[in-house]
């Protein structure tokens, strides 16, 4: 009998189901990638990320599935790393809780991210490619998008939980990922992750090193969300108990040792971290130092390695002086300013800000040019998404300052020269509250608006204002900014969003938010997000003011410190990749 041809042989043995699916999926993925490649324009031609060998661009369809990746990220800088040293951070805002699923303040994130890992890690090379979010691997050693609704993650095989009761050093498995994702999309009203993880339909752990996630609809932001700072993987033994707020047991580079309220948190090196050889630092001490003067003095005295801030609170001239007076520091300067966007947001359910005209009076009345100067001259207009990101609006999209129009809006809303508008802004002393409020107070004077500043305690502000209470009129501060429009906008502006602190409802915004969520094509999604942002700017539940320039100084000895650009204060820094050069005589 003649040798069977391929197709004859295939027909004889029959097509196995798995083979069919894999082949079909590969074909489908390749087809979609081709389509995406054609239409993604500038995005697909971006240089490969320098952070991590498996970095890919988030917000697009994944290219053909990769082969299994090596565990260590191939960052050449790490070849020179040395072991040892204690790293001191002065944190302005004390963590509220170490459970990042429920608290995402900068202090909470900074502390917990030393101890916990994520499936994927957000990485960004803002010098080469500002605004593009690369995602590289962490607990997932590789991932592929099997089809529009399904993602498969291969997990690292040697990760272990920290050897602390009640978890006791057991191996990390796919069940832990399933538990954490189910927790993040749960119904606990305290969750900050709910809206972002809600599109997940189910999570399966077919074997201890594989996780398969299926979404209900196509969800373009899924990979970005999986790499977000608060998507930490937690052990159920701890996370189901009340201890989860004050204790942290993770798989991460540092072990949580203790937390003295109002004083400091201590962390030790994890000798069994799955990235062998890392971390390089022996200890991390995170001190709680709300006072800027104290942080400055500590930095000058050599007690901390990193220090910085923004004008007007810290003028650039002061930073220059300090840098010149200390021979052992480098400057890490931001050129862009898409970091924290200063803003005012309003309680839209109560007078006077339930009236859109009053909110728009702020939009048209504020003197943005002055504010840009006061914030150091590096600043630019702020928008719902940072202007420097691929999603950002352009300066020309924003209305220009028009005091006459602002006054007319106020008059139409019933506020005249005899009965002027007087409002109270409720702030905390953190997050640039006092600086932004004082500046806003002054720039709104020509419009005839009087703003009284009510400064309340830090945690009270988080719970009563930032998380959306009813007992405030407005607030003004520097918000952290987000890398993906779904993360940045959905939870805050969807009528059902879990972080809708302005209580804003708009069927039009809801529709656009849901639409962008399911759009994988980058250009198409950009268009929807643009329309959404223009709507939000006009409806003004927030009035975005200016993004601030920030400057940072770091000790020369402290190596490989990289600043994140997007959402700076709220992103974790890669402390596991940092080390100290040995002192000259040691």
């Amino acid at each position: 009998m003649a040798e069977d041809g391929y197709w004859t042989a295939l027909a004889r043995r029959g097509v196995r189901r798995r083979g069919f699916l894999t082949g079909g999926a590969a074909a489908l993925t390749a087809a979609m990638a081709a389509a995406a490649g054609c239409s993604s324009g500038n995005n697909s031609s971006k240089p490969a990320a320098t952070a991590g060998s498996n970095a890919r661009v988030a917000g697009t369809v994944a290219p053909a599935p990769p082969t299994a990746q090596a565990l260590a990220t191939a960052d050449p800088a790490l070849a020179n790393a040395k072991r040892g040293g204690t790293f001191n951070i002065d944190q302005p805002d004390e963590p509220i809780s170490l459970d990042n699923h429920r608290q995402e303040t900068p202090g909470s994130i900074q502390a917990a991210n030393l101890v916990y890992n994520h499936l994927l890690k957000r990485a960004e090379d803002f010098v080469a490619a500002p605004g593009i979010i690369y995602v590289s691997d962490e607990l997932a050693s590789g991932w592929e998008q099997v089809d529009k609704l399904t993602y498969r993650f291969s997990l690292v095989k040697n990760a272990k939980w920290h050897n602390t009761a009640p978890v006791n050093g057991r191996p990390f498995t796919a069940d832990d990922v399933k538990y954490s994702i189910d927790r993040m999309r749960g119904s606990d009203p305290e969750l900050r992750t709910r809206s972002a993880w809600a599109p997940v339909d189910k999570v399966e752990a077919p074997d201890p090193n594989t996780v398969v996630v299926t979404t209900k609809q196509p969800y373009a932001a899924f990979i970005a969300i999986a790499g977000h700072t608060w998507s930490i993987i937690m052990p159920h033994e701890l996370a189901d108990t009340p201890d989860v707020n004050r204790k942290a047991i993770g798989t991460g580079p540092f072990l949580f040792k203790d937390w003295q309220s109002g004083v400091a948190l201590h962390f030790d090196r994890n000798p069994e971290y799955f990235r062998s050889g890392q971390p390089f630092l022996d200890h991390v001490v995170m001190r709680v130092v709300p006072d800027l003067g104290a942080r400055t003095a500590n930095f000058r005295a050599g007690e901390t390695e990193i220090w910085g801030g923004s004008p007007p609170t810290i003028p650039f001239s002061t930073i220059d002086e300090i840098k010149n007076s200390l021979p052992d520091v480098n400057e890490i300067k931001r050129t862009g300013s898409n970091n924290s966007g200063t803003k005012a947001f309003f309680n839209t359910t109560a007078p006077p800000f339930n009236d859109k005209r009053v909110r728009q009076a702020f939009l048209y009345g504020a003197d943005y040019d002055s504010m840009i100067k006061i914030f150091g001259g590096l600043a630019q207009r702020a928008g719902p998404m940072p202007l420097a990101s691929v999603w950002g609006l352009k300066e020309s999209d924003f209305p220009k300052t028009d005091v006459a129009k602002a006054k007319a809006l106020l008059e139409a809303a019933g506020f005249t020269a005899d009965k002027p508008l007087r409002v109270k802004t409720t702030i905390s002393r953190q997050y640039s509250g006092p600086a932004v409020s004082q500046i806003l107070q002054q720039v709104m004077k020509p419009v005839g608006v009087t703003i009284d500043i009510d400064q309340i305690e830090d945690t009270a502000w988080i719970t009563q204002v930032y998380r959306g209470g009813q007992n405030y009129q407005m607030t003004s501060f520097g918000d952290w900014s987000w890398e993906d429009p779904d993360r940045g906008l959905y939870a805050y502006f969807h009528s059902d969003g879990n972080a809708n602190n302005t209580h804003y409802t708009s069927t039009q915004a809801d529709a656009l938010l849901e639409q962008q969520r399911g759009e994988f094509d980058l250009d198409a999604r950009k268009k929807i997000v643009r329309d959404l942002q223009l709507l939000l700017v006009d409806d003004a539940p927030n009035v975005w003011l200016v993004s601030t320039g920030t400057d940072e100084l770091a000790r020369k000895r402290f190596r490989n410190y990289k600043q994140m650009q997007m959402g700076n204060s709220n992103s974790y820094r890669e402390w596991e990749n940092c080390w100290f050069d040995p002192l000259p005589n040691s």
Binding site: A297, I322, I374, Q441, V443, I453
Partner: protein, 306 residues
Amino acid sequence: MATAERAARDDRLVFAPDTPATSIVSWPLAVARFCRRKPLGAFGGAITLVLIVMAIVHPWIATHDPNALNPNEVLHGISGRHYFGTDNYGRDVYSRVVYGAWASLEVSIISVAIGTAIGTAIGVVSGYFGGAVDMVLQRVVDAALAFPGLILAIALVGLVGPSVKNVSIAIGLVTFPSLSRIVRGPVLSIKEQPYLEAARSTGANSLRIMVRHILPNITAIIIVVVTARFGTAILVESSLSFLGLGPPPPTATWGSMLSGDAIYIMQTAWWLAFFPGAAITLVVLGFNLFGDALRDVLDPRLRGRA
């Protein structure tokens, strides 16, 4: 006559009438005599007067709106346009010092008024009635005195929130206890005087006696103590503002101008610290010198107290 006695007599003669037959004191003459005998006190009084006048006319002598931001003039030094330079928001330091005078004066007047009213009332009632009333009231005063003053003020303001009103009340509540003690002493001796017996026998009730007979006799003490208290009140207000418990931003008060956030800027922009600091120093010095001299003149027996 021994030197000390002569000095004491001379002091008291500041307010002596010109001729034995006249019982009306001529004020301009008294002031002139005061300046001659107590030059330091007069100097203190002059500084105090300058502060009060400056505070009252602050809208007219300020050169700029103290809260107006000026992004083009951040951290400029002393100049013809900005007598005391500008801060990191571009605000004029001179105008902020001048407005701060008013804020400080407002707080010190209100707090001293509250402290004096409560302290005097408690001291007089306590001393006059004696017995159980005295015991209870003085135990209350003991409890209040047990707290370090500044800590108590911080706690009070922390509880009710920072504002000019709350800061004034807090400082008043912190200062009344010691005043009540000081007042109580003389009241105890005065109430034994025979003319009070006479007043009582004509049917005067206790309140009338306290107000018409006792109070005028302790006025001198109160004036002396109160004058010194102004200085303390300004210091306490500065401390509270420095700690962030004063009136909310951007209100200019001398203490908040010295406060933590600007400390690291002051190492080069020295004018940010110098002028508010000098203002506080001068004013407190002035009140203290004036108060000392006044005390010597009105009642030297108080030397070493208050």
